[in-house]
Symmetry: C2
């Protein structure tokens, strides 16, 4: 659609829904979704309030696009082969590692997802999808405990929640180096090691990547 025949969309000094979303997500995270007005967004984007409506239907669509991006990344992890085949504990380790990476790659979007309260239909839909993801990981942990590989100090239900709490807390403090990779491998490994230790993995260190 548009711009037929060959490359022409080279320079980019105008907004697209994508680039506008990046600005919006940044402001949403700074001020909170409810605390952000369209006026705030327009100032941050450098265009007028009404111009925003040329690119997106409204404020809520920006939120929907953002949390969708986060959720797509998380569910994508569960589709990876290493998350579907092998010992439960290895699959769990893979999911922990990759979830941490996705959380770093899509940090602002996941941050927004984790702060959703359920005030609108969009937010409730996001909460529901997130709940389903949590259940999938909880099932993995349950299997790893059932086959005797993991022996958490607490019951699996509690352990799952603490595990997610630990991983998700990254959005509260992790900030990638401005001129560097978005994913910090040493932090990913630290999370994985701490998580598995807390879950009672005998032998300590997890298998290397």
């Amino acid at each position: 659609m548009g711009t037929a025949a060959g490359e022409r969309t080279a320079r980019r000094d105008t907004y697209t829904p994508q680039t506008l979303l990046e600005v919006a997500v940044r402001v949403f995270n700074e001020r909170g979704y409810d605390g952000t007005s369209m006026e705030h967004l327009s100032r941050a984007a450098g265009i007028s309030k009404s111009s925003i409506y040329h690119h997106v239907r409204g404020k809520e669509e920006l939120l929907r696009r953002a949390v969708s991006h986060a959720l797509d990344g998380l569910f994508g992890v569960l589709e990876e082969p290493a998350a579907r085949e092998g010992r439960a504990v290895d699959r769990l380790a893979h999911v922990i590692r990759r979830t941490t990476e996705v959380l770093m790659e899509r940090l602002p979007h996941v941050t927004l997802l984790l702060r959703v309260r359920g005030n609108t239909e969009t937010e409730r839909w996001a909460l529901e999808r997130r709940r389903k993801f949590d259940q999938r990981v909880a099932e993995l942990l349950r299997q790893a405990v059932a086959d005797g590989t993991l022996r958490p100090g607490a019951d699996p239900r509690l352990a799952t929640r603490l595990l997610f709490g630990m991983i998700n807390s990254l959005v509260e403090w992790y900030r990638p180096h401005p001129e560097g990779p978005r994913v910090a491998p040493e932090i990913v490994e630290g999370v994985l090691t701490t998580a598995l230790a807390g879950l009672g993995l005998p032998g300590g260190a997890p298998p290397a990547r």
Copy 2:
């Protein structure tokens, strides 16, 4: 002031700043602070919007009272004797346990504290106080590592953040039984065990209360 001579303030069918605060904190947590209007509060409290201003100066005072209550509880833990004397690892264990308990006792207030974004002066003040508390606990962990008691898989800075992430995540899912104690001892123990295991405490189980 007021109601001189003897007991008379028996029945309580009218609001005080305290009782109004409880209603407000509940609604703030359901809808988010920015997502809650004074109209919402007035409906939840069963009095008119303008009546609220008879008891408190405004919306922001309600937030300030709430997060203050949370912060007072947290800093109170650091003042307890068991948090000031003994081996660093024992003091850390005490702080983890008591912090978890305070978080449960004052769940709605702490929840509000953890969601503050920094949009107003009150919020920035709360963020600053919270940061100081985190630093105090980080110092405890640092000492426990320095004297060789703890050997976390990750560096102490990261470990502290993951530890707080785990504990603080309780506000996302813990709900006390309606007719029961606000604090669930088995969850406190689960948190403590998982935390110390994740921090690399040799020997597994923590000392009994």
